[in-house]
Symmetry: C2
Subunit: 128 residues, 2 copies
DNA sequence: GGGAGTCATTGACAAGCATCGATGAGGGTG
DNA sequence: CACCCTCATCGATGCTTGTCAATGACTCCC
């Protein structure tokens, strides 16, 4: 790719654009860095699954702690899968758990959920 | 799957209750139907990928239409992958495209994006 | 028509994710 | 102690998603 003749330059002006070059803006990197973008998508992914959504919803409706055996009854998957999704929610910080005897009780971590909500809300504001 | 005799049901129930008072709450279906949950997660999934997030962000920043070759420069994946993600955004209704000569220009469909935003915002409100 | 460029699609492959049976850890009960 | 219960983890399996080289459809310019 060498030089353009001056007539080619002229063509480009009248035509707006010549083939073989970059179309419009040179400077089109996203204002979102790859790191920022991944941070946002990680937040979205946590609840981008129906079971996790439903689990969190149940935990929220019952203000207190809920036993796993009850959560199990609230969603259409088997126990190991429930455990799996609860683990993801826990690793995301949105819920906590306590063992009590034979049972495990899960509960919403309000502050963390609130932080999650405002991060997502902030992300939404990008798209106004 | 077979039936349990009613005495077996009785035994089972009383045994579970005997194990604790909190467990096995009756009223525990999610207020979110499986269908509602699925609808929400589909909305979340669209933008739960860094490349799609960045593409949409670029399209929004340039108010008008953007040529694919420019979008290509804005994200860290190759052309077929860009095409792939643009297709997903298009199928979700968030962007549209027009062919113009050799070039394809993409643009944000404002109304659809706005509808998307309010659906997600409504979903967020579940988790207040 | 020939050549070069843009973009979509195809096809192959890999990586990630969801699911569940089996098993294990650990506590309660008789 | 022997047994049963709850829940976590492991391991195998199938499905979905992301990625890119290759190809194809189409357009423009000479």
């Amino acid at each position: 790719m060498g030089f353009m003749s001056s007539s080619a330059v002229q063509d480009r002006t009248s035509r707006q654009r010549a083939r073989g070059e970059r179309c419009c803006d040179r400077d089109l990197r996203s204002s979102l860095s790859a790191a920022e973008a991944r941070a946002i998508t990680r937040d979205l992914e946590v609840l981008a699954h129906p079971v996790r959504l439903q689990l969190l919803e149940v935990l929220l409706r019952k203000q207190g702690r809920v036993c796993v055996c009850d959560l199990e009854a609230a969603v259409p998957v088997k126990q190991p899968t429930v455990s799996h999704h609860l683990k993801l929610l826990r690793e995301a910080g949105l819920v906590g758990s306590e063992r009590e005897g034979v049972w495990a009780f899960y509960f919403v971590r309000r502050e963390a959920l609130e932080a999650w909500r405002s991060r997502v809300a902030a992300a939404l504001r990008w798209f106004e």
